[in-house]
Amino acid sequence: MHELSVTESMLGVVLRHAEANKATEVTAINMVMGDMSTVMEDSVRFYFEIIGKGTIAEGAQLNFKHTKLLARCPVCGKEFEVVEYNFRCPDCEGVESEIISGREFQVESIEIN
């Protein structure tokens, strides 16, 4: 639901880096999106088509790399995939697990001319 403002932020990041590199055109935007991100890929594509118009990123290819929700147990060091949002360590039942991936929504790189 918040993809319009998220897509605007994404486009802002892309244009800032493109301009800093004196690009005349952005041909592709490579993004990493975690499984626990609340952002929907389809909605980002939809809004990008509209708000990208008239910018040097118009028509750029959007590539999404999805990352799984992974956590690390600080007690025993076990790294595990979080299933059904159960963050309890499957080995030692430790409850303090920290997320190591799966929350991010990042612009990894852009391809420019």
């Binding site: 639901m1 918040h2 059904e84 409850v95 929504f105 990042q106």
Partner: protein, 216 residues
């Protein structure tokens, strides 16, 4: 040519959230970001909280709604400073909107700011505002199965308020199942059960919050 960017899409919001944090720190103000679905009882909860801390904490409220000023008028009628933010269709508050409201509030001498986020269990969880505490409300009528449907909200919140417990006898609400699921997602979350209608359970929250505000 490929250019490495490595920048989070939420970074810009987080920079402003840190500015809010600094502004609050300068004034010794504690900020609560209150999130819940529409109808969970956010405004009633705020009214109960304001009543509970009256006389010991100076409070102010920032009301985020898509449109209208019903809530801020209700709060202002109690004599507490209230600022309305209309998001104009947006489903969540962002740090920059809260920044403008904090500046308008004049934080000097204000101990507690409660931000009522837009009624929504999804988007507000993604946007940091610079708060000390993320508090979410789940009302009994919504059902105990919500954590797995809105995982980010439950895993990001510091406090879960289970509201409308006076309705439990009329529903199939399973408190034990709720607590079990939530604690697996977020072992640090603090849970308070209450009814803002009857006032049951409100005191425990008020004394816990007052302690947190005074400790900071």
């Amino acid at each position: 040519m490929e250019i490495e960017v490595l920048e989070g899409v939420f970074d810009a919001n987080e920079i402003i959230a840190r500015e809010n944090r600094a502004l609050l720190d300068e004034n010794g103000t504690f900020m609560v970001n209150l999130m819940a679905s529409p109808g969970a009882g956010k405004t009633s909860f705020i009214m109960r909280t304001l009543e509970g801390v009256k006389g010991s904490l100076k409070s102010a409220v920032i009301e985020g709604d898509i449109a209208g000023k019903v809530d801020s008028e209700k709060i202002a009628a109690t004599g507490v400073a209230a600022i309305q933010i209309n998001t104009g269709g947006s489903c969540h508050l962002e740090a920059k909107q809260v920044n403008r409201a904090l500046i308008r509030l004049d934080l000097e001498g204000v101990d507690l700011v409660i931000v009522e986020n837009v009624g929504n269990l999804v988007c507000p969880a993604e946007f940091k505002l610079g708060e000390d505490l993320k508090v979410m409300i789940l009302s009994v009528a919504e059902g105990h199965d919500k954590p797995l449907k809105y995982p980010l909200m439950f895993s990001e919140s510091d406090v879960l308020i289970v509201n409308k417990i006076d309705l439990i006898p009329h529903t199939d609400f399973d408190m034990e199942a709720l607590e079990d699921t939530v604690l697996k997602m977020n072992s640090k979350i603090v849970i308070f059960k209450m009814s803002c209608r009857t006032g049951e359970g409100v005191d425990a929250w008020i004394s816990w919050l007052s302690k947190r505000v005074k400790e900071r």
